[in-house]
Symmetry: none
Subunit: 225 residues, 2 copies
DNA sequence: GCGGCGATGACAGCTTGGTGACAGCTTCGC
DNA sequence: GCGAAGCTGTCACCAAGCTGTCATCGCCGC
């Protein structure tokens, strides 16, 4: 899952990016409205984290633009304690949640997760498919009851595949979800590599990553057509 | 389905062509207005993707010409962020949709799909005919409930036949849709080959590809006249 | 019955994906 | 700080399967 962090204060953006990155999200940072627009034009995000107070205008303008353009990506607004008015206004304009600065990184992570969860239409975080038991929040993965350790990227990939199970996911889309812009120079077969590693860990779970040559990958649950 | 991409920036054209190619469209690229005119004269396209800013003139001229000539092929216009006037003008002149550069390839794909869908008069992407269940977006094909894997070309062919079901599709039209100009050296019976392969996969579905000697092929749904 | 179009099985080339080994980097414990 | 462990991504080589050609056979229409 890929996030856009629209925030001009470098250390806040960095901290959020690092924390969410550890949580398995690929983060792009946009320090200005202009950057945010450029990013939004280039790819789809799972969640946008939007500071309202930006050097070249208000984040509310950006939010309004996106909603007018029919974009329903969940937006989490960051505001100063005092800016009650802005906060309410942003919610009216289609923001999904807000967080008052300064905030705790763990709370940010929890809220982002809640938004992605809501998006996926799942009431719970935890996903159980055949012998696979996956909790993205706890980053925990169990195969046939046994805990399996997986790396950040592996979990991110699993997340993408689980969210789109039954559908063929083109490789470039998985690539987009796994790596942000800053990792754009990663080789072509990085996705294949992680698919291979994930497959090993999922083997025997009844859940398989099918290859569809020239099309992409699909998560298939045994006995689920 | 065959697309014409009128775009002079080589890497943009290439990326779009690759992405849409993966999505099952055969793409021809025209870097100039002159090329675009030549292509339009040679074959019919399902959608034209038209950059307005071209080395030998404005894409708007091309659009106007085509519309005057009675050509109603859906046109998706590409414009720069700033060129609001051009965008509005193009819509007035009969463009069906526009996309601001830089754009996300997935958004392009989605819009192209929307245009082809609109053309076919279908509200939904997913098609269910007798025992056949086909979702071009997910590249998923089910026959009598069972998932059947198909290759890119097979899916492209099915797409063409489904979009024109009940109508006889001349072989050269299918050929055009399956292969762009760059594959013009492909043998004559390539279409027959893919028809045969697709037939095998569709057998028992209640949907059949009829041969009409000297005329072409038609997708027929059992008990559906 | 003949001519020609279409069907189909076999095959080879080539693109695409799989995988093991390895090196750099980060992270974490001490 | 230092060192170790493990995560990451690259490379090279191998395997798989998609693709399109060819040849042969069947079949339809005339």
């Amino acid at each position: 899952m890929r996030l856009l962090i629209v925030e001009d204060t470098a250390d806040v953006a960095e901290a959020a990016s690092a924390s969410l990155g550890r949580a398995g999200f690929a983060c792009d940072v946009a320090p200005t409205l202009a950057d945010a627009r450029a990013c939004a034009g280039l790819t789809d995000y799972g969640v946008v984290i939007l500071d309202l107070n930006l050097p070249d205008g208000s984040g509310r303008d950006f939010l309004r633009e996106r909603r007018r353009a029919g974009d329903r990506t969940p937006v989490l607004v960051l505001t100063a304690q005092s800016a009650v008015e802005d906060r309410v206004g942003a919610l009216d304009e289609g923001a999904d949640d807000y967080l008052v600065k300064p905030f705790d990184l763990r709370e940010l992570e929890a809220r982002v997760r809640a938004l992605t969860r809501r998006e996926a239409g799942r009431a719970e975080n935890r996903v159980t498919l055949a012998g696979l038991d996956f909790d993205p929040a706890a980053q925990s993965l169990r195969v046939n009851g046994a805990t399996v350790s997986a790396t950040r990227r592996e979990l991110a990939l699993l997340n993408l595949l689980v969210a789109n199970r039954g559908r063929i996911m083109p490789k470039d889309r998985l690539f987009d979800g796994l790596f942000g812009f800053e990792n754009a120079d990663v080789g072509d077969n990085a996705v294949e590599l992680y698919v291979a590693r994930l497959r090993k860990k999922l083997s025997g779970s009844g859940v398989a990553i099918e290859t569809h040559r020239g099309l992409g990958y699909r998560l298939e649950v045994a006995g689920d057509g």
